[in-house]
């Protein structure tokens, strides 16, 4: 139950975390079966069979950035028990990224520059938008809610998390899938975080499906089960601590 102060500000926004999924250099996993870790180094290559048991030929034709994002979204939805539904669902997809699809951008324009405009790949061009993988996930999982990317200055994904809570709170979507997604930097000299970590947040959830409550105070602080959350990594850590793993 939410309360409203005289100023009109909500004391808190809240949602229930029901799923988590990730693909990182440390491996891939889901909240209910693995403990989260970013690890270091290069991301593993993601084959369709590692994530999807059914034939999904289109997955192999996506660029690396999209495969990473779609895989993590799939694992999060699976963890929440809401991966597949035949009917279209008003689920929001909000991704956060620092570098976006820069790897694909470089590959696309290299062909244009070195071989000529007639060799520009329409297939590759489709993936030079950071939000394309959200569209792929929307198609795969029948998600018809709001979809957009937030390019943030760091890998914390805090703005995306706040945005997801806001959308649930003001009735825009009863469910939001939100996370961070970044490939390794194209500059080998740059040591940067890479991987994808996504959460499923729901307006309401049965106790047996929920990890717990994520709240945002009117002051802007996030907390999960009374533990402060400063970014998506700490949220993942909270889930791992709270589980029996």
């Amino acid at each position: 139950m939410r309360s409203r102060a005289a100023t009109g500000k909500r004391d808190l926004m809240e949602a229930y975390v029901t799923g988590a999924g990730w693909v990182t250099p440390a491996g891939s996993g889901q909240g209910r079966t693995s403990a989260f870790s970013w690890g270091k180094g290069d991301l593993p290559s993601i084959a369709r069979k590692q994530v999807f048991s059914d034939p999904y030929p289109h997955f192999g034709r996506m660029d690396r950035y999209s495969r990473l994002g779609v895989a993590a979204v799939a694992l999060a939805l699976r963890d929440a028990g809401v991966e597949h539904q035949s009917r279209s669902r008003p689920v929001a997809l909000i991704g956060s990224t620092v570098r976006g699809c820069i790897e694909t951008d470089i590959a696309f324009f290299k062909a244009v520059r070195t071989q000529g405009p007639q060799y520009a790949s329409p297939h590759l061009f489709a993936y030079t938008l950071a939000n394309t993988f959200l569209g792929e996930a929307a198609i795969r999982f029948n998600l018809a809610g709001p979809t957009f990317i937030l390019n943030e200055p760091d890998h914390g994904g805090l703005f995306a998390l706040t945005m997801a809570l806001t959308m649930i709170d003001n009735g825009e979507s009863p469910v939001a899938v939100t996370g961070v997604c970044d490939l390794n930097s194209p500059s080998p000299q740059v040591d940067s975080m890479a991987g994808a970590l996504f959460f499923v947040l729901e307006q309401t959830a049965d106790e047996d499906r929920s990890y717990g409550r994520l709240v945002r105070s009117s002051g802007g602080d996030l907390a999960f089960q009374d533990r402060k959350v400063v970014d998506m990594t700490t949220l993942a850590g909270c889930l791992s601590e709270g589980s029996e793993l």
């Binding site: 405009p117 569209g135 198609i139 200055p153």
Partner: protein
């Protein structure tokens, strides 16, 4: 809590907000032969661009030139204003230059760096993120700003929208074979593709209470918004326009108005066969048989991708203030059987609200309901 727009400005190939509005009324177009890069290998050689932008060969991305012009006159923002931006490719011209071996001294302006760049211009410390939602980026960003203000997360947000006309983007759209070799003709029966453009827009979006405290004018009200995904194809819109219909209905519901209360629609109207056909199906689904004026400005300013919705929203606010919507430059005749009333001339608005819609790759659709400015 009402969400006011207290300042709006644009920069297009036709000039600033006033110049662009006047040019729209006169059916003038900024679409012309491209000089910025070599188009001899392309079947399309035209686009709309802002004169005088210096490229990364001169040391920095053209993004800075756009911002220089957009911020030519000072922008006053209250303390605590958050910056969000909307752009699909930001300073991609720097990547182009780098790949051609030009060193310059400007780091590529990644979309994630844009909010900080704009915040520096405004002299404020707090910035959020860049919204990337393909051709609906601006309207999604404005909807996020309105949502955050309505939820009392923040009282004032500066929303800056921009995208450049670059060979990167041009070659991509060319490869998709959706560029017209002639200036685009939105909704026209002879339409055969879009014309790319570039531009920028800036809005100060504020809680009504804050704006009144500061005695700021109300240039318009963002009273409703909605975003929905087609969940069908990443490059083509759903034929039945289901995502656009859903987004529009959400926006109307949030604004607490009925479809018959909408006075006019600023449509996405790119001039491609598929997009325009989708909208021509979606609008009757939303509005029934009612013949309200529908227009697109892309025949005049080109399709500026992530900046499109921002420029179109600013023009829609101008339309509400004038109680007139502009003609659809490039449109002459509808397809047979289409009853949607596409404007050929400046047309009076009947009603207090306007709907602004955009759709983009990745299946995204966004709609805003705008209402006129209020006396303060």
């Amino acid at each position: 809590m009402a969400v006011w727009v207290t300042d709006a400005r644009v920069l297009t190939g036709l000039g600033n907000l006033e110049d662009t509005w006047q040019a729209l009324l006169e059916k003038r177009s900024a679409i012309r032969g491209i000089e910025r890069f070599d188009t001899r290998s392309y079947t399309c050689t035209i686009g709309a661009w802002v004169d005088g932008l210096r490229g990364p060969e001169d040391g920095r991305s053209m993004v800075h030139g756009l911002l220089d012009r957009l911020f030519e006159s000072p922008v006053s923002v209250p303390e605590g204003t958050l910056v969000i931006t909307a752009s699909t490719k930001a300073g991609i011209d720097s990547l182009e230059a780098f790949s051609r071996g030009c060193s310059g001294n400007g780091a590529p302006v990644l979309p994630s760096g844009l909010p900080g760049t704009v915040a520096d211009r405004l002299g404020i410390a707090t910035y959020g993120a860049n919204v990337s939602a393909a051709c609906a980026s601006s309207t999604v960003a404005l909807s996020r700003a309105a949502s955050m203000i309505e939820s009392a997360i923040v009282e004032s947000i500066a929303v800056c929208c921009l995208d450049l006309l670059t060979e990167f983007v041009f070659s991509g759209f060319s490869s998709l074979r959706i560029l017209s070799s002639r200036p685009c003709r939105p909704f026209d029966r002879q339409r055969d593709g879009l014309s790319l453009g570039e531009g920028a827009a800036l809005f100060i979006v504020m809680a009504e209470k804050k704006a009144r405290q500061m005695d700021l004018p109300c240039r318009g009200v963002i009273s409703g918004w909605g975003i929905a995904n087609d969940a069908e194809h990443i490059l083509s819109p759903a034929i039945d326009g289901r995502g656009l219909v859903s987004a529009a209905r959400q926006a109307l519901r949030r604004a607490r108005i009925k479809p018959w209360e909408v006075g006019a629609v600023s449509a996405h109207g790119t001039g491609t066969t598929q997009n325009d056909a989708m909208e021509l199906r979606a609008f009757p689904t939303i509005f029934g048989t009612r013949q309200l004026p529908v227009y697109s400005i892309k025949g005049a300013v080109g399709h500026s991708l992530g900046a499109a919705g921002g420029i179109e929203t600013a023009m829609a606010l101008q339309a509400l203030a004038s109680q007139v919507v502009p003609p659809t430059t490039g449109f002459t005749e509808t397809e047979e059987g289409v009853e949607t009333r596409i404007t050929r001339e400046a047309t009076p608005i009947r009603g207090r609200s306007m709907l602004v819609t955009n759709s983009g790759f990745g299946g995204v659709n966004c709609a805003l309901v705008l209402q006129p400015g209020r006396e303060t």
